[in-house]
């Protein structure tokens, strides 16, 4: 019977560790097993190295770590395969929803937001959590698990901030900033310092870190570039200031307002107030709007949920037609063509807020212009 020395035991243990057997239990089992075979099947003057190689070779088909993999697979929770399938299916569905939603969005077809919303929700609340759950089981160290969890959190934050921006929900900007800070400030350093310590992942870690940082940087730059000068706001503010100036001048010359004119002006101002209040939290454009750097975001949805706006719009429609009916010359009538008054109620949500604001201001301008006309002819 062959006798195994302590040095040889150390050698065998180190060798099976090196060949991918990480579970301590399994290491001890295999060590004892190999020793038993050697003791029983090798003659006392046998060659250790050659015998060991021959014995251990019988344990696997391609490599020793197969045993480790097989053990892990058997030990993994029973619904592992069901979860894995659900993860893959949810990933495929959310990817399909993203592609479909993007195409609809580009073509301005209905259903884009619903599909993109579905994609984000499935990605954030099904795919990514399942991915973490399955992957953390495979991760060997605490730090690797932490990196995985952080990665998923940043992924969820990222898709959430995209969703918030897309749906014009409040807090989109701060969510996006949180995502960037979490990504660059927490995830990337943790990932980098975890990976760089292990020689086998060192190069990969450096490359991936560079890619992550540059991708985030590019995304950040792109978002900044995509914000153009608020030309529409500039335009509207100038129109509004012009209207105010003309109204003031008119009042200096003498108040020519009658009830219809007052009705139209009140309805226009109230409607503008509702739209502006939602966006800049004030109902009128201040005189020093340029200094205050007021920016109105272009939005498609004009009417807020309140029926107040619809009632005002109807009041305006009535007042304008009464006013026009009272005019003796066509020249003095307020043109409603291509204004908000011409849009059917169910199509109002396709108007941008700028279209509505400008429509209203233009109507008020023509009132002022009509009122000024007799004054000008008097001169």
């Amino acid at each position: 019977m062959y006798t195994i020395t302590d040095e040889q035991i150390d050698f065998i243990l180190a060798d099976i560790k090196k060949n991918g057997i990480d579970t301590e239990d399994l290491q001890l089992n295999l060590l004892d097993h190999i020793c038993c075979i050697l003791e029983h099947e090798v003659s006392s003057d046998g060659d250790f190295d050659a015998s060991y190689k021959r014995v251990v070779r019988q344990f696997y088909k391609r490599e020793l770590s197969e045993i480790e993999e097989e053990t892990k697979q058997l030990l993994q929770f029973k619904n592992y395969y069901a979860m894995k399938r659900l993860m893959l299916i949810s990933g495929a569905i959310s990817a399909a929803a993203f592609i479909g939603g993007s195409i609809l969005k580009i073509m301005a077809w209905p259903g884009a937001s619903a599909l993109l919303f579905l994609g984000v929700v499935i990605l954030s609340f099904l795919f990514l959590p399942l991915l973490v759950l399955l992957k953390t089981r495979e991760a060997d160290t605490r730090r690797n698990k932490l990196v995985l969890i952080l990665g998923a959190v940043v992924g969820i934050l990222y898709s959430m901030s995209t969703l918030f921006a897309m749906m014009h929900w409040p807090g989109a900007t701060s969510l996006w900033l949180t995502t960037v800070i979490m990504s660059i400030g927490v995830l990337v350093p943790t990932y980098f310092f975890t990976g760089i310590r292990q020689p086998e992942t060192k190069v990969n870690t450096i490359v991936t870190t560079i890619l992550l940082v540059s991708a985030t940087g590019l995304l950040f730059t792109m978002l900044r570039i995509r914000q153009p000068l608020p030309l529409q706001t500039y335009n509207y503010i100038k129109n509004e200031q012009l209207l105010k100036k003309m109204q003031r001048n008119l009042n200096n010359v003498g108040d020519t307002n009658n009830k219809l004119v007052a009705d139209i002006n009140t309805a226009c101002d109230s409607l503008k107030g509702i739209i502006l209040n939602r966006d800049i939290a004030r109902t009128t454009i201040p005189d020093d709007a340029e200094q205050k750097e007021i920016i109105i975001a272009e939005r498609n949805v004009f009417m807020p949920e309140t029926s107040e706006a619809f009632a005002l719009l109807e009041k305006l429609r009535v007042a304008v037609s009464a006013y026009n009916a009272a005019q003796t010359t066509n020249d003095n009538k307020i043109s409603t063509a291509h204004t908000v008054l011409e849009i059917a109620p169910d199509k109002l949500n396709t108007c941008t807020n700028f279209f509505v604001l400008n429509s209203l201001t233009q109507m008020q301008l023509s009132l002022v212009s009509n009122a000024q006309h007799p004054v000008l002819t008097m001169k």
């Binding site: 302590d6 035991i9 150390d10 579970t23 239990d25 399994l26 001890l28 089992n29 295999l30 060590l31 004892d32 097993h33 020793c35 038993c36 075979i37 019988q58 344990f59 696997y60 088909k61 197969e66 045993i67 097989e70 053990t71 697979q73 058997l74 030990l75």
Partner: protein, 113 residues
């Protein structure tokens, strides 16, 4: 004739449970040797399938373990837990029924000794 691993895969748990039921406590190498002896070398359990199975059975709560130190190395003895004993009987009965069905299905004539 040595049986293929595919054939053994479905029966490995049953073999291990039954051996432990009969022999009270065994360690890995002992199990492989016992199977070899009992089957006249026709079934040779590979280490690559035995140890994962042992670990899985232990995780399922069917086996209990004891560690014994032999010089510098540790030997892990396996024995059946209470649930393991019930499971062992169940598994053997299931396999016996399966073999009977296979005999009918494949129309195997019993060999006359």
């Amino acid at each position: 004739m040595i049986f293929s691993t595919e054939l053994l895969k479905g029966t490995l748990k049953t073999i291990v449970l039954k051996l432990l039921d009969d022999n009270k406590r065994m360690y890995g190498y002992e199990i492989t040797q016992k199977v070899k002896d009992l089957t006249a070398d026709r079934i040779q359990l590979t280490e690559g399938s035995l140890y994962p199975t042992l670990h899985a059975l232990e995780a399922e709560g069917l086996l209990t373990t004891e560690l014994e130190y032999i010089g510098k190395r540790v030997r892990k003895y396996y024995s059946l837990s209470q649930t393991g004993k019930t499971k062992s009987a169940e598994k053997v009965n299931e396999l016996a029924a399966f073999m009977e069905t296979m005999t009918i299905l494949l129309d195997i004539k019993p060999k006359i000794a």
